[in-house]
């Protein structure tokens, strides 16, 4: 099965030394061109993240992470997704720009493959899974009234369809269940928290519910 990966989970997994799990999973991980640039090429110029970039580059070279071709259709979908997503929410009649081209590319690639996406951040996940909840988040955090263009939100749903959103924490938990992780529950708990602190959008409550619920 093909899973499209965004930059976030690769960064989280690399920084927590769990990138190796990807190799053991029965998935083909596809990266949009923009993501490759972000996680592999650009950070090589910085001392701080060069090691992370080199690790990810190794996985790209060995084919565990592969570049996903968008093609003309993918480009067209990415353009539409970016345009619609950035015109769904409004504050004082001004559209709120919430996603970038690279994220739109990842969504487009997921719609053209097996509808599975590896993404650690909250915004994209909520946009596709629960656009009304994203509006609530925006409202609470901005303190302003946020209106939503329901037609556009539905149009986005129609273009994208059902895409399964997975986080690095979800695939590590899956690896644990499949005995790929090869460690006990205490290790899993530590791994999930490490990913959370590396930026994965997972709450403490969710980790507890999964482990002890």
């Amino acid at each position: 099965m093909r899973v499209v990966a965004d930059a976030g989970p690769l960064i989280s997994l690399s920084n927590t030394c769990m990138l190796w799990i990807l190799e053991k999973l029965p998935f083909q991980f596809l990266l949009p061109p923009w993501v490759i640039n972000e996680v592999s090429l650009f950070p090589k110029q910085t001392k701080h993240y060069k090691l992370s970039a080199l690790r990810i580059s190794d996985y790209i070279r060995s084919g565990i992470l592969q570049e996903g071709e968008l093609g003309e259709r993918g480009e067209e979908i990415a353009r539409k997704v970016q345009h619609i997503a950035n015109n769904v929410y409004f504050i004082k009649h001004r559209p709120l720009k919430i996603i970038q081209r690279g994220e739109a590319e990842a969504i487009a690639l997921a719609t053209l493959t097996d509808h599975a996406m590896l993404v650690d951040e909250r915004t994209i996940r909520l946009l596709l899974e629960d656009p009304l909840e994203l509006r609530n988040v925006l409202q609470i955090r901005t303190g302003a009234r946020v209106s939503i263009d329901h037609e556009r939100a539905e149009e986005l749903q129609e273009i994208v369809g059902d895409v399964l959103m997975l986080r690095s924490a979800d695939i590590v938990a899956y690896a644990y269940e499949e005995r790929i992780l090869g460690k006990g529950k205490e290790f899993l708990e530590a791994a999930l928290y490490a990913l959370k602190y590396a930026g994965c959008a997972i709450s403490e409550q969710e980790i507890r519910d999964y482990l002890y619920g």
Binding site: T142, I202, D209
Partner: protein
């Protein structure tokens, strides 16, 4: 806004600067305004400098303090276009001469402000781009915030793994 920053800096009011920076980062995210983002970064960096005694005790401090105030005044009066870059250059100079950390105050400020923009609801990439921050740093900062504990997703880990298995069966592996 620059005037408020300058006055707070002159009064050594790091709390005001930090609160202002947070507010401006939020506004920059909403309005997608790079200049507001830049001002937020400067306000935050100045607030950090004011909390570090080693900067304030440095024999260079009076000179740099004067340079920053002078640049902020120029910005207030719109005397030149690149005045914020001038403030930024001064902050970087202070940091390289007297800083204790490898990661400089300006880059930390960019990442911190981008993380705040992310918490507002824009994507991490949009936030990183707006503040010229490194996406690695943004995730690092976001991980240290409680932003992901404020919202409990309706679909938990178990449900996602179940959905993954269903999808795997449907796609033949």
């Amino acid at each position: 806004m620059i005037r408020e920053i300058r006055k707070a800096f002159e009064a050594n009011d790091d709390t005001f600067l930090r609160n202002l920076a947070t507010e401006m980062a939020r506004r920059a995210a909403i309005e997608q305004d790079r200049r507001t983002a830049q001002v937020a970064v400067i306000a935050y960096a100045l607030s950090k400098i004011l909390t570090k005694p080693h900067f304030l005790r440095s024999h260079n401090w009076p000179r740099y303090r004067h340079a920053i105030i002078s640049a902020l005044r120029d910005a207030e009066e719109g005397r030149e276009n690149n005045v914020l870059e001038r403030v930024e250059r001064t902050i970087r100079r202070i940091d390289s001469e007297d800083g204790h950390f490898v990661k400089n105050v300006m880059d930390k400020a960019r990442s911190k402000m981008a993380a705040i923009a992310y918490s507002v609801g824009v994507s991490a990439h949009v936030a990183a781009h707006l503040f010229d921050a490194d996406i690695h740093d943004v995730f690092d900062y976001v991980g240290k915030m409680k932003v992901h504990d404020e919202h409990i997703p309706k679909i938990g880990i178990k449900e996602r793994i179940d959905a993954l298995r269903r999808l795997m069966n449907a796609s033949g592996g």
